[in-house]
Symmetry: C2
Subunit: 437 residues, 2 copies
Amino acid sequence: MKLDLGRLRKKGVYALIAEVCAEPFLVQNVEGRILYGDSDSDYTTKYPLLFQDEQFGWISGGKRAYAISRLVMLFAASECEKKELGQETLAKYRELIFLYDITEKLAASLRPQEVAILVISEVNKLIKADKVSLMLINEENGLLEVIARLGEEAKTKLTLKLGEGIAGNIALSGKAEIINDTRRDPRFLEGRHKVSSMMCAPLRIKDRVIGVINLSSAEPANYTAEDLKLLSVLTLQAAAAIENARLYDNLKEAFLTTVSTLAETIDKRDPYTGGHTKRVMEYSLAIGNFLGLSNPERERLKLAAILHDIGKIGVRDNILLKEGKLDETEYNEMKRHTVYGEEVLKYIKFFNDIIPGVKSHHERYDGRGYPEGLSGEQTDIIARIIAVADTFDAMTSDRPYRKALSKEAAFAEIKKNSGSQYDPQVVEAFLKAVAMW
Amino acid sequence: MKLDLGRLRKKGVYALIAEVCAEPFLVQNVEGRILYGDSDSDYTTKYPLLFQDEQFGWISGGKRAYAISRLVMLFAASECEKKELGQETLAKYRELIFLYDITEKLAASLRPQEVAILVISEVNKLIKADKVSLMLINEENGLLEVIARLGEEAKTKLTLKLGEGIAGNIALSGKAEIINDTRRDPRFLEGRHKVSSMMCAPLRIKDRVIGVINLSSAEPANYTAEDLKLLSVLTLQAAAAIENARLYDNLKEAFLTTVSTLAETIDKRDPYTGGHTKRVMEYSLAIGNFLGLSNPERERLKLAAILHDIGKIGVRDNILLKEGKLDETEYNEMKRHTVYGEEVLKYIKFFNDIIPGVKSHHERYDGRGYPEGLSGEQTDIIARIIAVADTFDAMTSDRPYRKALSKEAAFAEIKKNSGSQYDPQVVEAFLKAVAMW
């Protein structure tokens, strides 16, 4: 930090010293420019003004000039320290504001991807970089994988082993680094893009590294310790938010897989054979997209589609597994799987709002369905969607007693029954969705 | 902030001015104590030393005394500002360190209760209080409920409506408050404990209040804006961590309820009747506690106990639901539910590590069980635990063909088979556990 002799003049320090002092004196900066005093006087002594071993000016005068120089140095040092402290306080304020802002933005974000994108965009606002990427360690294979990036031209999936390249090394060491000249770093791996400088910081949860964040610049950049500090502030918050999101995601994934596998097992009374439940769910969601369902409605639809036949658990083997045609009594019992579905799900609070989707997926738009004979929009929209998705999958799958219909024949059959068996809006959305396959 | 004339003396300011100046002068503080100069001299003038409209001393001297006083005031003000900035920087440093520390501690804590207890203990370290409590808004009934507290004598469950009491008002307004005298606040509700002063801050996620944190002191306290600031720093982090933990908890709860309800439905081929699965899980966990299982092992045990009979989905009705005794062929088929269990679960990655618990819960310690005839510790510990829990619940429940045994008779039966059918260590832990019921 430089001493500011001009600032002391503005504060009137030299003039006050002159008032106190009996003799004239001259203040000059190190280049000789006069800041105070009369250059025409004859001065017999001359003393340097010093601060932290560096000279920043001169005091010329008579026998009191030495004392004057010490007084000026004392004053200048005090002002200088004040300025330094002011800058430090400001930097801490900025860091705090940044930290609060990030904490608030990341609060309760529930998707790792979402958190990563937010973090990258914040980094990009604060630190100059051409490319930013966030990599996480895949828990299954131990590889570092890019989960979000900014400024890449192609969507190449970059994967590194731990210890490989700069990011792979940072993931091992757990210490953030600035590499201002990548050519001089043997760990640097040449890629398709030019990278002259980079910064890399680990994402850590306590002592465990879960990933890294990389910043790079094509042209040489001079990243500073201050930049690295900001990046580290961010990674602290980001790591916690991403880890939370990832744990939540894993649990949700496990939940859905479990429920759909169990549901299909129940449906078939055989270990998982794969397919029907998953396909009905996919068809249902495709229809839901074209109907513009909200996210909560899509969630409800997804779960109801997975569990639509859960009530078959209550139907006895001799009916459920019968290979020939069911007689009327048997058919009436078979139809009861819709109400058995309600009986199973009513004990699970989490599923209470999908009961209509499960119970009513055999209702018809014209009111001639079961179990309640609801018509039109009396039937929950998710049940009207599942009705189409379920029938379509049944028609296009092989059964013991008949071969699968072609998709085209199934489309025609569904179109024919639009407005009688099916909600015309749902059929329309279904046809739009299948047109994209 | 007070000006510090003693500090200027230590820095040699007065001595330097004296060297520069041709005339003697005297520096006194406002009480008249001499800080610099000779009191015996004759001084003709006397000027006050002022800072921010307050007098803090005197300069006595001759015709230059006025200039000296201005020089001293300039110097003193510069030093004073420096000190203020230093304190501000320090405060910001503390806030940052505190924030980083809290972020790290809260990272990936997955239970709301755990987060709340951590937050309360941090508050207690930093701010003087007799009682600290953390309340969350129950999403179902909209009431504020205490989920963790410190310093309460009785475990009374305090619940407030929104808008009720101080906490209920803060939850509505979303603004933190200091109430240094509760007697003068009409919102204050008298409780069983004396409360003279309190601070209350909302826990917020973006614009949504999810709870409040309360601090109180029995004796009058003078909580400051700085205390409130610290509390607010903490609530920002705490709210995010608690909300994440709560979402995770809700999902996990839904998962477990769903899986156990579906599992029991499958077991009985009837909608949920409640009981067997839940009891086997509870008995198993009680045994696990006495065996000192680790948390991950407890988790594995819990899920395996819930799903131990999932394979019954593959056993046909004529065998599963038969009321009389099974013949040998039928019994052999019934036994296959253990391997069917493996077949169902192997499709669910999340459950892969509980397969041994499900598949082997009918193995015997002497190797005469099924399906593989494993003996001793060849059988997974969780299967050896479930074996005891499952038999005990079967023996003590009514069955169509026999009445339930008394608990005592069941204990005796299990003890008798310790070392042959059951692992003696497990039986020992079981008997310790039941002794506590």
